[in-house]
Amino acid sequence: MNPPLSTWDTRKTELELPEEIDLQVELANVGSRTLAILIDLTLGGLVLFIVYSLWELLAHNISEDWFTKMSSHVLKIVLLLLFFGFQWCYFNFFEWLWNGQTPGKRLLHLRVIKVDGSPVSGIDVLLRNLSRPVDTLGPMGLIGLLMIFINRKAQRLGDLMAQTLVIHETAIDWSIFDQMEAVAGGGSTTPSIRLNAKQWELLHRYLNRREKFEYDVRERLAQTVYDVLKRTAQGTDLERSPLPPEDWLVELARRT
């Protein structure tokens, strides 16, 4: 049995744009959403811890002058406001300011969007984040987890109320198309072989990335790709070619 190629959740959902194009987005999975929240909690907790330590230091200071007392009180107010702000404003503030992202979400390339694909507005952000105590934080998080598992669009209660989705944005890597210029059109006079788009892409992604693999992985992958693309060469001299899989694939690319 082959291990799964990617552990990333590939649940997708379709959106409709005003341009009448279906937009497919990749929904963020439970793991990445939980991790993003943990990152956010850690960040906020760190800030709270620093202010709390400062306050403790001042509150137990031996000198009783008015300045120490006052700054201890000021720090206490700051601490209370920070705690409150972290609890109720942190997610709201960042998702509003950064168009659906918090620091944790940004690190993991997650983003909150509306169900119709448009960016979130202030009210949407409030709706999905004010409901966190009921479906994200503490033991209630189980409800949110369950919702993300069973809901078709991976929406927790707050997402349902705000009509939002959390999506994963894959970085666009144009470099997979870089090699095609180098390989294609080697000036061979042999009859060309037609590949469909998927086959073509498979071939070029392999050729583009083969140098990054260990030797044995590279061989094994070449064999897999060769098995898939073998039938495209039916009826040409390449079909019975004795070349090893990798060279065979280079030859195939030259002929397309």
């Binding site: 744009l17 005003p18 341009e19 194009i21 279906d22 937009l23 497919q24 987005v25 009180h73 206490k76 107010i77 209370l80 406001l81 705690f83 409150f84 609890q87 109720w88 168009n99 969007i113 694909g117 448009s118 960016p119 979130v120 507005s121 202030g122 009210i123 409030l126 709706l127 004010l130 409901s131 966190r132 105590p133 009921v134 479906d135 209660l157 707050g158 349902l160 109320m161 705000a162 009509q163 944005e169 894959t170 666009i172 890597d173 144009w174 997979i176 198309f177 095609m180 210029e181 294609a184 788009a197 998927k198 073509w200 892409e201 070029h204 992604r205 397309t256």
Partner: protein, 324 residues
């Protein structure tokens, strides 16, 4: 057209769009000039065309996914929601919030009924057995009532008023917002919060009356009580609106009812925030002071009256859009 030719022909355009998007995402749309925006919208339209082409001819390829991502990013920048402006903020505060509350006065009434039931049970519980107070009041409060003194004196002499007011209003706002969010638990959490707060009030009243502190507790509560209780009840009403959408969605699907009613309910909950900040300041600065009771009562009635007047009377006229 083969995939290779398609990529080769159009890739410069996609990469140009990508760099423009990175610029506008990091620097904001206000930094972009007119030719820039014109080029952006032209590129966006061209790329949606490419996406449509790729969806027909290159289904399931990475290229299709990339174009999706690119179009989605551009779409996010082009169809931005309204920026926050004084007009939108004013409309929100003076029209949408009061209208949301007036629309859902029945829910607020139900919240008040649950709260009153809490008070009634608190009163009768202490009447029946004085020890019932210990299930909801902390020991130091109980002890000071038993010795015939207000518990507030010891608390407010330790904490300076600014710290106390911050503590009070952050705490109260958390309770109010939780009462709103609790609607998602089909109203269970909301009802518990309303009932618990009412119960506590009932217990305190009955206990103080038994130990000759009724005057003192009334004097303490006169300044901020009306505003604070109104806010909690309104936030509870917001929670009940959400619960109602979940339990009795009516002609809508449950999903749509939640989305529609949640939008008005959150406006109701937001109304409580400034009210609770005010109530917290009064509770910390005025209520523990030795100001005469008539002054505190006047203040309480005035602030509470203003709050209700704002909720019930403003925003009845149609809103005027700003002059261009």
């Amino acid at each position: 057209m083969t995939l290779g030719t398609f990529v080769r022909n159009n890739r410069p355009r996609w990469q140009r769009l990508e760099t423009m998007l990175s610029f506008i995402e990091t620097r904001g749309p206000s930094k972009a000039d007119r030719p820039f925006l014109r080029e952006l919208s032209a590129l966006y339209r061209a790329t949606t065309g490419d996406l449509a082409f790729a969806q027909t001819h290159y289904r399931g390829t990475t290229l299709q996914l990339f174009l999706h991502q690119l179009v989605a990013r551009a779409h996010n920048q082009i169809y931005r929601p309204h920026r926050l402006s004084p007009y939108i903020l004013g409309k929100f505060i003076f029209h949408e919030i009061p209208q949301a509350i007036r629309e859902h006065l029945p829910s607020v009434t139900w919240a008040a009924i649950i709260f009153l039931m809490g008070i009634a049970l608190g009163l009768s519980a202490v009447q029946f057995d004085e020890r019932a107070a210990s299930i909801i009041l902390p020991n130091n409060v109980l002890n000071s009532i038993y010795s015939g003194k207000m518990w507030t004196g010891s608390i407010f002499s330790v904490l300076p008023a600014p710290v106390a007011s911050t503590y009070l209003f952050t705490n109260n706002i958390s309770v109010a917002l939780l009462a709103f969010a609790g609607g998602l638990s089909c109203g269970v959490i909301t009802a518990v919060i309303l009932f618990q707060n009412g119960f506590m009030l009932g217990v305190v009243f009955k206990l103080c009356a038994d130990y000759g502190l009724l005057g003192a507790v009334l004097a303490f509560i006169a300044g901020h009580g009306l505003l604070e209780i109104s806010s909690i009840v309104i936030a509870g009403g917001a929670g009940l609106v959400v619960a109602n959408a979940l339990l009795y969605p009516g002609r809508y699907s449950r999903n749509d009812a939640l989305a529609v009613q949640g939008r008005t309910a959150v406006r109701m909950a937001l109304a409580c925030i400034p009210a609770l900040v005010t109530a917290g300041c009064i509770e910390a600065f005025v209520s523990p002071s030795h100001a005469p009771i008539w002054f505190k009562a006047m203040l309480g009635l005035m602030v509470g009256g203003c709050f209700w007047a704002y909720l019930l009377l403003t925003g009845k006229t149609a809103v005027k859009p700003p002059a261009k």
